[in-house]
């Protein structure tokens, strides 16, 4: 049983959205994954295209918990604003703080992540900060009151898997809150490895893995998780 804030989850898998060939395949993949939490991002809408697809329209909003991220934010202020925008949807009170501090590596900005986490916690959000695999930073985020820690396995989108398992193990060992291994998971093997490190409660799996490995009807890799 995974507990984050006041929510309890049976599944250890958080599922990323996006990058699926179409929304029908996404729906099938989501249904068969067994996940209870879907992640998504917040973006400006193209107001001149009323026909643009709505990625939520195929999803049963009553069946899943939603975890918005603050991707696109470059500092704490922007992250807090995105979190509040997402919260206004009425769909979520959790937020994944994601503040990119380096455009080349897409690694998170530790200072701004700490600031945003502190502000959002004070405002009553359930906060899951995305962080590097820095052990001390993970501890400081937990000390602030973060409800879970989301260290990256390797840089976002790299698919390199867990490049520093020792650090992840230290983070998992010291944490009293769930540790959700986040970016860089490139295969089901990486996900399994993260769990083997001991106490990694669940894995966030970027949809890119699914879309690359799943069959057109979205079935194939579910057994791997």
């Amino acid at each position: 049983m995974l507990t984050i804030g006041d929510k309890k989850f049976q599944s250890r898998l958080f599922l990323g959205t996006g990058k699926y060939p179409n929304y029908d395949i996404q729906k099938k993949a989501v249904d068969r994954s067994g996940t209870e939490v879907l992640t998504f991002a917040v973006r400006r809408m193209n107001i001149f295209d009323a026909e643009q697809p709505d990625f939520l329209e195929k999803i049963d909003l009553n069946k899943y918990h939603f975890l918005p991220n603050t991707a696109g934010a470059k500092n704490a202020e922007e992250a807090v604003r995105i979190a509040k925008l997402a919260h206004a949807s009425g769909l979520c009170d959790m937020v994944k703080v994601e503040i990119i501090g380096c455009s080349k590596t897409l690694l998170p900005d530790p200072v701004e992540t700490l600031k945003a986490t502190e502000i959002l916690l004070a405002e009553g959000f359930t906060v899951l900060p995305y962080t590097s695999d820095d052990v001390v930073l993970a501890r400081k985020l937990e000390e602030l009151g973060a409800h879970a820690i989301m260290p990256g396995a390797s840089p976002i989108g790299s698919g390199q898997g867990i490049i520093n398992p020792l650090n992840l193990k230290f983070i998992i060992e010291q944490a009293q809150v769930p540790v959700i291994v986040d970016a860089g998971i490139g295969s089901p093997k990486d996900a399994a490895y993260a769990m083997e490190l001991g106490g990694g409660w669940c894995i966030i799996k970027h949809s890119g893995i699914w879309s690359k490995r799943s069959s057109p009807d979205g079935r194939s890799d579910e057994a791997s998780y």
Partner: protein, 67 residues
Amino acid sequence: MKIRVNGEGVQLKQPIQTVEELLHHLNLEKKSLIIEHNHIILKKDQHRESQVSDGDQFEIVHFVGGG
């Protein structure tokens, strides 16, 4: 009546009283979206009462796939 939406100037050819009317005018009334009106984030039940004036600024965002 001219407003700014997502950083762009939008000339409205007919008078718009409320945010709800604005969404209808833009054919977005059935979309899942969130609106920031003059830097104030609106909940859905505020769309009907939030008054639109010339020069107002809007951010209209929605959810997209992400990890």
